[in-house]
């Protein structure tokens, strides 16, 4: 295994004084690795991946992302955030900007790219998620699936090394889930380091190198998907899988 691109060392996090949300998390992610995180609601999955780009701060342990340690150093955090793209369950597109403006914002203001160049990059990403014809529309004029694909394209515009997905299909109607998953599978095929919180087990089987199961703030079990699904070790994992696979 080469030098890890993400590394958690005994990370602990609390909300307030007494809610211990992450407990002794140790995790190493290799470049190009594709990880799916699953687990019951409230187990700390979102908190874990939000620590990777410091949307949440941890109180104990150390986190390294692309070699930079996440601390109070604002500059370091901004540097890391440029390397890490994130896609949210609720899309979080900017409703007052057009699709194209949503995409060019960061390249222009963070990457200092000239407008024409930024639009060129943006159009290429929109084509990648097959939505280029909607560039001049406003986000709320699009369907949920289209909005989520725009959100993916927006995150890709800064050419991140790592992509984080926090339940990207959970807010979508069933017929739109597929179009978003297809884009994600394509991305996986291109060698992107990906960490996805999702309960789409088909997606996990198709693209993940490793599936992580979390419960009560801990990593309970992690294994390659074929092993994870066919021979889960812990009782809790089995219990969870039986619920989610519906048997």
């Amino acid at each position: 295994m080469s030098e890890p691109i993400i590394k958690f060392e005994k990370v602990n996090k609390w909300y307030g004084d007494d809610f211990h949300v992450l407990r002794d998390i140790d995790l190493e992610v290799a470049p190009g690795e594709r990880i799916v995180i699953c687990g019951p609601s409230g187990s700390g999955k979102s908190t874990l991946i939000r620590c990777i780009n410091r949307l949440e701060e941890h109180q104990e342990g150390r986190i390294f992302v692309t070699g930079t340690e996440l601390t109070d150093d604002v500059k370091a955090v901004e540097r890391v955030r440029r390397e890490v793209g994130m896609v949210f369950q609720q899309f979080n597109l900017f409703p007052h900007l057009t699709v194209l403006e949503n995409l060019t914002l960061a390249p222009m203001w963070v990457g200092k790219t000239p407008k024409a160049k930024a639009e060129e990059i943006a159009m290429r990403q929109l084509e990648r998620v097959r939505i280029a014809e909607q560039a001049r529309k406003y986000p709320l004029q699009l369907s949920g699936g289209q909005q989520q694909r725009v959100a993916i394209a927006r995150a890709l515009c800064l050419k991140p090394k790592i992509m984080l997905f926090d339940e990207p299909t959970s807010a979508l109607d069933p017929e739109m889930i597929k179009e978003v998953l297809e884009v994600m599978i394509e991305l996986a095929g291109q060698g992107m380091t990906m960490i996805c919180v999702t309960h789409e087990m088909g997606f996990a089987k198709a693209v993940a190198n490793r599936v992580i199961f979390m419960d009560q703030g801990q990593i309970v079990e992690q294994a390659p998907p074929e092993e994870f699904f066919s021979r889960p070790k812990s009782e809790r994992t089995k219990d969870f899988l039986s619920k989610i696979l519906g048997h």
Binding site: L55, P95, V110
Partner: protein, 367 residues
Amino acid sequence: MASVFQPIPPRPAPVRTTGYVAWARANLFGDWRSTTTTIVLALVALWLLPGMAQWAIFQAVFHPSLESCQAARGTGACWAVVAEKYRYIILGRYPYDEQWRPVVATLLLMGLLGVSCTRRFWRPWLVPLWIAVLAGYFVLMAGGVLGLSKVTTDLWGGLPLTIMLATLGIVLAFPLAVLVALGRRSKLPAIRTMCIVYVELVRGVPLISVLFMASFLFPLFMPVGKSPDVLLRVLVGITLFAAAYLAESVRGGLQAVPKGQVEAAATLGLTYWQTQRKIVLPQALAMVVPAVMNNFIAIFKDTSLVTIVSLYELTGSLGLALNADADWRPYKLEGYFFIAAIYFAFCFAMSRYSLWIEKQVSVSRTR
């Protein structure tokens, strides 16, 4: 039996019911309740309007004649007072021969406001234009250069003073209010506390006392003979007062922007100020247009309080114009109607403009 899907062919929407009769039927006589209301209101209007029309129009005196006014006392309005004194009411004590200067200066300022309110002109050159016009305003009003005679600020008055105080009050208070509103949500306790104390202190006292303090207390803290112009002090007072209220309106908008917006901006690597400027403020301000415009209108009318520190803006100059003249003094009511009409014209324009702005910002948010 298997049912076959039968698509219904599309047809045009029903013809809309339009026209005055249809409108009246729908809106005035829809059911017995609205019919009753309509009839009652119509009766009240019939009862009040003739008397008002008699006083304001039919029995009123329009030509500037004191005798006719005295004859019509009690039965008709004396609009003659406006015809006689309008120049004093609108321009105050400004030296009579130089009164073209406030007129030109104010027209310039209003032209600037008109341009600034038009979307087509929202370009970077608006900033130097503002600086140029404001400089022009003060040169024209104060004189002392370019062969213009010097006119001290205590002689400025009337509508030009009202418009200038309101314009500068709004233009200075608004950015301050945005900073204070952001400050109240800052993560730094010192900044947050400062902003809270400022807002609560200023909101807790009436504008009159702020103006008093600005004009009488302020000089006590300054070296002797160094106290700034009363106009400047009053402007600072109005700005600080208005900003506290505006800040609360703006904060309401800031709170309504979902947290996910800030998080999305953060993950894209935008800095705090970039996030506020590009993501948070555009959405927050769009949501509070009515509240902010409400504040602006209040500022415009609050300028009438500067009379208390001997600056005779529109309301004050009405008093000056009539109090000094025993003959016309009884007709103050008509004078007040006149300036009320002026205030109304400006405030109504602001309120219409607010509706237009609301429509502009909602275009981008349509579903």
